[in-house]
């Protein structure tokens, strides 16, 4: 047996052992998650998840509305949170429409936020405030900031737009980079680190209210079509559990309780509604269109 074969064999053994341990850990986590009296709720940068006060407002409301203690789980990327959700390590999560479409077979919609009375939002292409740019073509050759590779508004929409125009991000832009937060996209553009960025329209508008100086460094080049607002999703396996139902009720009735309204005000949302997966068909079309390019 050659040394390379030995290494291959050892690697296989290591992989099998690791897989076994992962499955064991996952099953343990699943059982713990569903039997405990704590709701583990995942958050992604679809909103200002780095606002500590906002997190405490959400936690307080959900605990008071569900009767469960609530543990908010945040990760740097959408992918990490989605993985936790799909694997059942968390009970529910506020994710983006794009991961929901990607894992539509494993996930159910729990509730969809309403912004300005509609469960819809847009993607903005932004650039520095003093730059002469008003259309996509003006951004050619830029260093472009995306939010997250699993973000609809911060990645997918721009990729699809370029594809529609027979372009690709790699050739159209000088370079692209991920900031893993819509706020960071705005920071990168406003500071001049990059010349343009793709950002969640809802986040941009909310930051314009709470941190106008930051947003003042940017301007909108293009607004996309309307897409389904990033939803709160739950693993299909646990969609009908008591905890999840309590959580769903809490979101849907948030506008009726004072703590809920405080949360909605903080988030600049009008409420949460039930929605069909068809709301994300437009996202799905982009995914389908890009196909192997993603």
């Amino acid at each position: 047996m050659t040394s390379s074969n030995k290494i291959t064999l050892r690697t296989r053994r290591t992989f099998m052992l690791s897989s076994a341990m992962f499955l064991l850990a996952t099953s343990n986590a699943l059982s713990q998650s569903q039997t405990s009296t704590t709701i583990r709720f995942g958050l992604t940068p679809v909103f200002l998840n780095d606002d500590i006060h906002l997190l405490s407002v959400i936690k307080n409301y959900l605990e008071s509305a569900t009767g469960y203690s609530v543990e908010l789980v945040t990760r740097r990327t959408y992918q990490e949170v989605t993985s936790l959700l799909v694997s059942g390590q968390i009970d529910a999560a506020w994710i983006c429409g794009y991961p929901f479409v990607k894992f539509q077979n494993e996930l159910d919609l729990l509730a969809v936020p309403e912004w300005n009375g509609e469960p819809l939002y847009q993607s903005y292409l932004i650039t520095k405030f003093d730059r002469e740019a008003s259309k996509l073509a003006d951004l050619k050759g830029d260093i472009h900031a995306f939010s997250d590779p699993d973000s609809n508004s911060g990645y997918l929409v721009t990729k699809a737009l370029l594809q529609e125009n027979g372009l690709s991000a790699e050739s159209f832009f000088k370079k692209t980079l991920f900031t893993y937060s819509h706020r960071n996209v705005i920071r990168a553009v406003a500071s001049g680190l990059v010349q343009s960025g793709s950002v969640d329209g809802y986040v941009w508008e909310v930051i314009r209210e709470i941190d106008p100086d930051l947003v003042a460094g940017t301007k909108i080049v293009r607004k996309s079509d309307w897409f389904g607002f990033p939803p709160i999703a739950v693993s299909k396996r646990f969609a009908q559990t008591k905890k999840v139902n309590a959580l769903k009720l809490a979101f849907l009735s948030s506008s009726e309780a004072e703590a809920g309204r405080a949360m909605l005000d903080y988030l600049r949302l009008t409420g949460f509604v039930n929605a069909k997966p068809a709301l994300y068909d437009s996202v799905k079309r982009n995914v389908d269109r890009l196909g192997a390019l993603l």
Partner: protein, 484 residues
Amino acid sequence: MNPLQYLGQLSSMLRVPLMVMLLMAVASIVLSERVLTRLSQNQETYLTALASSYLDGIAASVSPSVVHQDSWEIFDILTRMKPQKATIYAQETVVTDAKNIVLASDIPDVHPTLGQMDPKFGMEFEEEMRLDTVSQLAFAARSIRHNEEIIGKVYVVFDASSLLKERREVLQTLILTNIGLAVLLAAIGFFVVRRMVLPMQILERHLLKAASGGLEFISDVEYPKANREAKRIFGAFNQLVGAEKEREGLVDRLTKEERLASLGRIASGMAHEINNPLGGLLNAADTLKKHGHQEKVRLETVDLIKRGLLGIRDVVQAALVTYRPQRSSRVFTLKDLTDISLLLRSDLGSRAQELKILPVPFDKVFDDLPAGPIRQAIMNLVLNASNASPHGCEIVLSISQSKEGTHLEVKDIAEGLPDDAGEILTAPLKSGIPDGMSGLGLWVVRQIADELGATLSVKPNIPKGTIIAIDIPRRSGEMIHAAA
């Protein structure tokens, strides 16, 4: 003038404080230079350590992102690590890859992402941290290593204005403190020296007064707070003054005693001079008594008596001329010269001598000179010349006037003035009159000349003889009357 010479001419009270100030200035400059140099070294060491820590932190944090060329992560690290409220803060931080392409900067507008780093900016950096005092910036750079390979570089520009401001403030503080200290020490020096010099000034005042004849004790009132040293000096001075005053008193007493003794000697001399003819006169009287009836004897005896009386007259006349106190304050006139000639005729006639007055004065008044002392001085000099001169010779009295005063000369053709007689006229005056009768006339001349402020001189009369001259300066009438 050389400043040091100028300084040397100042009084101690000014010189010492000035020197203190100069020394303080020199000390201040040296001290300030040392303090600032040390402060600069400390600051640069501190800044180097700070820059090193910051660069180490940045390099370690951005290293994985530099490997991935992740500009956003680098930017995020730079902005998060940038101190917001530090006194010395990183004004500008740039991270490049190994090819000096800017991966990220905390001021992307100045250093565009993925652009080649500005060479001018790169030239500001050296191996070691560099502090530019003009721009008040410090420049430091550090290579970013990954697995022992250089993958990029961090460039940091620190705002060092607070350090340089601190230096300026330290310098200002040093200058102000040193000026304050110098002024304070100079003031202390001034007062201390003044206090030290004050006894010397008192002593100097008394010494000057003593030199002009006003010898006085230093009283406690003059310097009530004298220190021990000053008191010792003053005590020594007062002892000196006491001794001097005692000596003066003694000299006065001795002078008086000597005068009395002189009077005795004069009286004794006169008695001797009169006694000789007196014996002859008494004998003559006896002879007349016994043999007066004989005409021849009588005539011879009367002639003898006459000669004896003439001798006594001469002695009395000489004493009168020499010692008669001059009570008159009238001025010397032409008539006095005639009187002198008349008075001396008998003495000169006995030696067949002649007094010649040259040139014949045309003015009747001689600068308001006092008649008594001048008459006495001239007669003494002429009699002296007459005594020293042989029979039948001529004695010349010259008198002339000029702007400076009056010039008197008595010339003879004698063998010359004895040394001791000459000394009486010209040597420094000794207290008291000379011993014996010899030179008494000249001593009187000397006294008169001194009182008039006149100068006496003795010179040989070529080819033979002596010239004694008196130069009497022109003086105010008041002084002349005082001398008279």
